[in-house]
Amino acid sequence: MRVNFTVNGVEQTADDVWEGESLLYVLRERVGLPGSKNACEQGECGSCTVYLDGTPVCACLVAAGQAEGREVRTVEGLADGERLDPIQEAFVECGAVQCGFCTPGLLVQAHDLIERVPEPSDPEIREALAGNLCRCTGYEKILDAVRLAAARKAEAGR
């Protein structure tokens, strides 16, 4: 089947999509956006987190056909051209990236948190990221990065 949807502001058409295929597979293998990572394929790890019509979801659990006509924003769509999003900058500065496999999902999920909750508490950050696994277990640096990005956003808003 054919799936038409918008990815990072660009209209895309994917052809020969199998009816049981996931949005994640379409993004990575048919649209050429490998930023969203394929790890557990069961919604456990959060590595494939993308925005679907503005809501963070696991792309591996969205059927490709369900994305028809919808807007998807992936980790590739966070930066403004060459300029990194503040959450991405904070991850780099805080050393929140080790092997990097969980990073795209964490960036999207943390981006959503900071958009919704201007000054998140530590429990709020932990809860928001509870569905994103980092097997390098670099969680402390990740928390640092989210705190830094949130603080900068709050500062910029004042």
Partner: protein, 292 residues
Amino acid sequence: MEFLRPTSWGEALAAKADAPGAVPIAGGTDVMVELNFDKHRPEALLDLNRVGELATWSEEEDGRLRVGAAVPYARIIGELGGRLPGLAMAARTVGSPQIRNRGTVGGNLGAASPAGDSHPPLLAADAEIEVESAARGTRMIPAGEFYTGVKRSALAPDELIRAFHVRPAEGPQQFSKIGTRNAMVIAVCSFGLALHPSDQRIGTGIGSAAPTPRRAFEAEEYAAGELDWAGRSPLDERVARRFGELAARAAAPIDDVRGTAEYRLHALSVMARRTLTWAWKDYLNGGATACA
């Protein structure tokens, strides 16, 4: 395989009648796992995301809430947490934020896993499930009659789940669940409890400790008779303990990868005792409903 995309409830029912083997998909949090791992290859997927009414809820004339099958957990928490506190507590324990953004009570009912988090609060609050087929129209199934076996329900092959109906809490409600961490946990076992002060009754729901979610009738009757509803005197610890024992007696757990039957029975008795203690404390404090 086919991908069916009805845009109205009528179209969805017609599609299900034509292809009873079609698997309904809303949030996809269960269905897609089966597909990704090639455990199951249905003749068709029936996408319900385009049937807008399934993602809405309303207040009915009979005083109950009618909640569309595809309202995701995140919205149950955000929009209905105050009126359905037991279900909202259970919803908060579902998966992760990403899963709660997509997963639905309708999907939980359709899967009918004994471990589904929605089931104990639905049982405790006397929920009814509204199902419909093109051929035979609508029928209402009490939650207690909906689950018929491990991952089996009373739903006929040509029927779809449209909504569940439940009275807003008129007394404190509680939910407790055992797992290895807070997020991303399938219940080892779980327990839901609702106080119904106007008819001096208790509702219960046991999760993941029998072939189906089920109520603990004997425990309900025992505690309802022992509690001092009118005088609002404190809960006797012996009553709470006995309630826990009776709740565990209603279960029929097995040993599996998540825990042993013996552990589940013990955990159930503890959860039942604690949830009754918490709920009764709320009741004594005048709480008509537990805070969301």
